[in-house]
Symmetry: C2
Subunit: 273 residues, 2 copies
């Protein structure tokens, strides 16, 4: 295995030495934000969108990113040069920092990791199966490190022969823990929930596609039985057809026409052949 570096504040350290003190508020109080983007052929994908969200998340949580945007881009480029992983996922985490009393915010710790990642198109045809669960994430518009429910629900997901969980609440269907949810109605409307969700970058790119009847609006669980297609979106999945929800087949159980169209257009946007 090749050498892998992690940035911790100002230092590049080997992955196996990448440690922080246990007084950090992520360990003590689960307090931190992050963002995650891909690189393809050595180029970050939608980097400014991800940095926009990172700075917004940090501000919402009273955390100061220790670099301005140009400085952050420069340090990311340095990490990329050291690791030489042209196709990768890069995660930028900002924690609550070292806290003497284990409660008061400290100076945030910045951690940037890079891992090999190549998008695998063959996952598209296999699609994915979801199981619904009543849950509303706290601070949904902020990309915090809080995945307590998501990780705890791994057993529930397996027990229900699903691949992931779809949260819903009184305000309707929300999102999966790491992806946004879309449906295609019988009128070929492409709808994604609008409220109480994390605004994904892939979701945003889809809503900006021209020539399609996309909308951001509430979706209720009762609507699911009548939908034609469904898919989830994320940086790593891009577009993944949802073929089953709660044991019920969606459409004819195969990736739908509009789902395929959107997938192709997203691949095009990202320069994936």
């Amino acid at each position: 295995m090749s050498v892998n570096y992690v940035l911790i504040n100002d230092d590049f350290v080997l992955k196996e030495d990448a440690k922080i003190l246990i007084s950090d508020l992520s360990v003590q109080r689960g307090y931190g934000v992050f963002d995650f983007f891909k690189t393809i052929h050595g180029e970050p994908v939608f980097l400014d969108d991800h940095l926009d969200r990172l700075y917004a998340s940090a501000a919402e949580m009273y955390l100061t990113v220790p670099f301005n945007r140009d400085g952050l881009k420069e340090i990311i480029r340095q990490l990329m040069n050291k690791n030489d992983l042209p196709d990768s996922g890069i995660r930028i985490t900002l924690t609550g920092g070292y806290s003497e009393d284990g409660y008061t915010l400290g100076k945030p710790n910045l951690v940037i990791t890079q891992s090999a990642f190549t998008f695998d198109k063959t996952g598209f045809d296999k699609g994915t199966r979801l199981v619904t669960f009543v849950h509303q994430r706290q601070l949904p518009h902020v990309k915090t490190i809080d995945y307590l429910q998501a990780i705890r629900l791994q057993h529930f997901i397996k027990q229900n022969n699903a691949d992931d969980v779809l949260y819903h609440s009184a305000s309707g269907i929300g999102e999966c823990p790491r992806s946004n949810f879309f449906i295609v109605t019988n009128n070929d409307e492409i709808i994604t929930p609008d409220k109480n969700i994390l605004h994904g970058i892939t979701r945003k790119k889809i809503l900006q596609l021209t020539g399609l009847n996309t909308a951001s609006a509430a979706i209720y669980p009762e609507q699911i039985a009548a939908i034609k297609e469904a898919f989830i979106t994320s940086t790593t999945k891009i577009v993944l057809p949802v073929l089953n929800i709660n044991g019920n087949t969606i459409g004819d159980g195969k990736p739908g026409t509009l789902t395929k169209t959107i997938f192709k257009r997203l691949l095009g946007l990202q320069g994936i052949e």
Copy 2:
């Protein structure tokens, strides 16, 4: 400053060297549980109650405590012997462990810290001021490390000239981030919320006191205007009178009679003179 040791899994390390890899799921996903108890004159207070809750929290989150109860008590005793802090707070944290993919649970990391702590009775007369906020903690009966809202709300608390926040939701008043809430009605009933809260050890001890009219039942914000006394309870605060909520004085703005009675009885239970 004297030397302070921290236990990380099987190793006693100096506090300034107490580090974990950033691949730990506490850092990556805010995933972990903990408990916290006091020692007075070198003796743990209500240790079995705290360990009961720790093992229950761990089980709810699919985390295995790497010691059985006797083993855990033994290792705590060893830490106490090394640190020689007769009056202290001891925190036992169990994280989601090192995760290769940053999402799947690993082997939990156990971290035990000890800090000097002596209960200061003079805080009682000063009391505390609360400000209410609509929030329901996820997995409320589990003592997870999730304090995202609590720490984020420090600014809100200051802006409202309060010392702490009191969560409430559709199911009524809940709790403060690190303490349980009690009211005393005009009929001298001592009531604490029963649902969607963390079951504090001090709260439990109060509900077990004889000769008092205590009850665990729903409390709604509208009731606050008419209450005679209010107080919060925790391991570090024991019993702390609430003298103001949302800018409104409670009772005559001084610690109430029943609050004082309960405080004295709790001090007695813990051998504090």
